[in-house]
C-alpha cells in the first residue's frame, strides 16, 4: 500500500518517528553541551500530527514573533525541516557562549545570528544522523537559512509544501534543559510522501 496523505499515518508510524526523534534529541543535547560547554539535557520529545492552525496556536499565535530556520534535506530522502525558536532559547545560547542575552530579535548582530544558525545546524545534523544510522540511508542537509518574523508567516512555508500531501504537519516538541533552565525547541518536519514510504520500508514497518 502506498501513502497518499500524511493523515494516513497511524500510531505505529508515529511511534517509530517518536523513537527517531528521541535518539535525535539525545544526540542534539550531547552536541549542544559540547558546543555551549554547559550541562545540557533533554526531556522526552513529543511527536504529533497537528493541523496548521493548531501548530500556529501552539507557537503563540500567528503574530507572535520568533526565529525560523529552514533546512533542506536531500539524498535517499528529501524534504525540509523548520525550526521555530523563541527569543528565550536563542538568548540561552548566546548567554552560555558570550554571557549576553539577545536584546532585540530583529537586530541580532552577525555573531548572534551565526550562533543561532550553528545551533540549527547541530540540531538538524543530530536528527538526520540518527535517521541515517538507523536506516543506513544517505542523507544530506543544507546550511540553515534564518528569518525573524511572525510565526504564521514562517509556517506558511511548510504549510504550502505540505498542502500537496495533507493538511497536517509532523511536529516535534523538544524541551531542553540548558544550564538548569528549560527552553523549548519546535521542529516541523516536512518529508515527501515517497520519502516517508522509503523510511518506513527501511525500518521494516509496513505502510
Amino acid at each position: 500500500m502506498a501513502l497518499h496523505n500524511v493523515n494516513e499515518l497511524q500510531d505505529m508510524h508515529l511511534d517509530v518517528l517518536k523513537e527517531i526523534g528521541n535518539i535525535g534529541s539525545g544526540n542534539a543535547a550531547g552536541a549542544l553541551a559540547d558546543f555551549l560547554q554547559v550541562p545540557t539535557d533533554i526531556t522526552v520529545p513529543a511527536v504529533k500530527l497537528l493541523d496548521f492552525s493548531e501548530t500556529v496556536n501552539f507557537l503563540g499565535g500567528p503574530e507572535n514573533v520568533a526565529i525560523g530556520m529552514l533546512v533542506g534535506i536531500k539524498g535517499d530522502i528529501t524534504g525540509m525541516m523548520l525550526y521555530v525558536l523563541e527569543k528565550s532559547f536563542a538568548s540561552k545560547m548566546t548567554s552560555a557562549l558570550f554571557g549576553t542575552e539577545i536584546q532585540d530579535l530583529y537586530n541580532m548582530n552577525e555573531m548572534e545570528r551565526s550562533v543561532i544558525q550553528e545551533v540549527g545546524n547541530i540540531m538538524a545534523a543530530s536528527y538526520m544522523n540518527a535517521l541515517a544510522s538507523l536506516t543506513g540511508m544517505m542523507i544530506d542537509i543544507s546550511v540553515p537559512t534564518l528569518t525573524v518574523d511572525m510565526v504564521g508567516a514562517i509556517l506558511s512555508v511548510p504549510a504550502i509544501e505540505f498542502a500537496q500531501i495533507g493538511d497536517k504537519v509532523l511536529f516535534i516538541d523538544d524541551r531542553f534543559i540548558i544550564d538548569s533552565g528549560e527552553v523549548k525547541s519546535n521542529m516541523i518536519l516536512v518529508p515527501e510522501l515517497q520519502s516517508l514510504e522509503t523510511l518506513f520500508e527501511k525500518l521494516g514497518v509496513s505502510v
Binding site: 496548521f52 492552525s53 500556529v56 499565535g61 500567528p62 503574530e63 514573533v65 525560523g68 529552514l70 533546512v71 533542506g72 536531500k74 528529501t78 525540509m80 530583529y106 543544507s142 537559512t145 528569518t147 518574523d149 511572525m150 510565526v151 504564521g152 508567516a153 514562517i154 509556517l155 506558511s156 512555508v157 504549510a159 504550502i160 509544501e161 498542502a163 500537496q164 493538511d167 515527501e192
Partner: protein
Amino acid sequence: MAMVTVGIADLNAVKTPDSLITYALGSCVGICLYDSDKKIAGLAHIMLPLSTEAAGKIDNKRRYADTGITELIQSMNHMGASTARMTAKIAGGAQMFKGNSSSMFNIGERNVAAVKKVLASYRIRIVAEETGADFGRTVVFHGEDGKMEVRAAMKPTKIV
C-alpha cells in the same frame, strides 16, 4: 461592528460596517475585493497558484488562486455585489527564506502572478498591491470604506 477572521486557505465576505482580518500572510496571498456601491467586502487567503496545475485531487478549493477567487466572487454576488463594480487590493506573496531549498521555488511570486491572472480574467482592476519582499503581513480589510490595512512586524502600518 464585527471583525471576521479569515484563516489560511479560507475566505469570507461582509457588509459595512464589518471588517475582515487575516493573520500573518507569508508566501500566501490575501485578495481583498470591494463593491463600493453596496459596501460589500470580501477576503480570500490563498496558498497556491492555479488548481489546474496541481498534482492529485483538489480537496480544498479555497487553497488555490483560481478556485478561491471564483468562490469569493460568487459569495459576494449572493450578498448583492456586482462583479463589474469590484476592485481588488492584494497583499502577501513574500519569500520568507532566502535560497529556499523547497521544491516550491518562488511560490510567493507565482501566487501573486496567478492571482493577477485570475483577477484579469474577471476584469477586476487591482487598485493597490503590497506584495513580495521577505516579510509577513497581517491584513485588515474595512467594509466601511474598502481600505486595506497592512501590518508587518517592525514596520509601520500601511493603509491603502
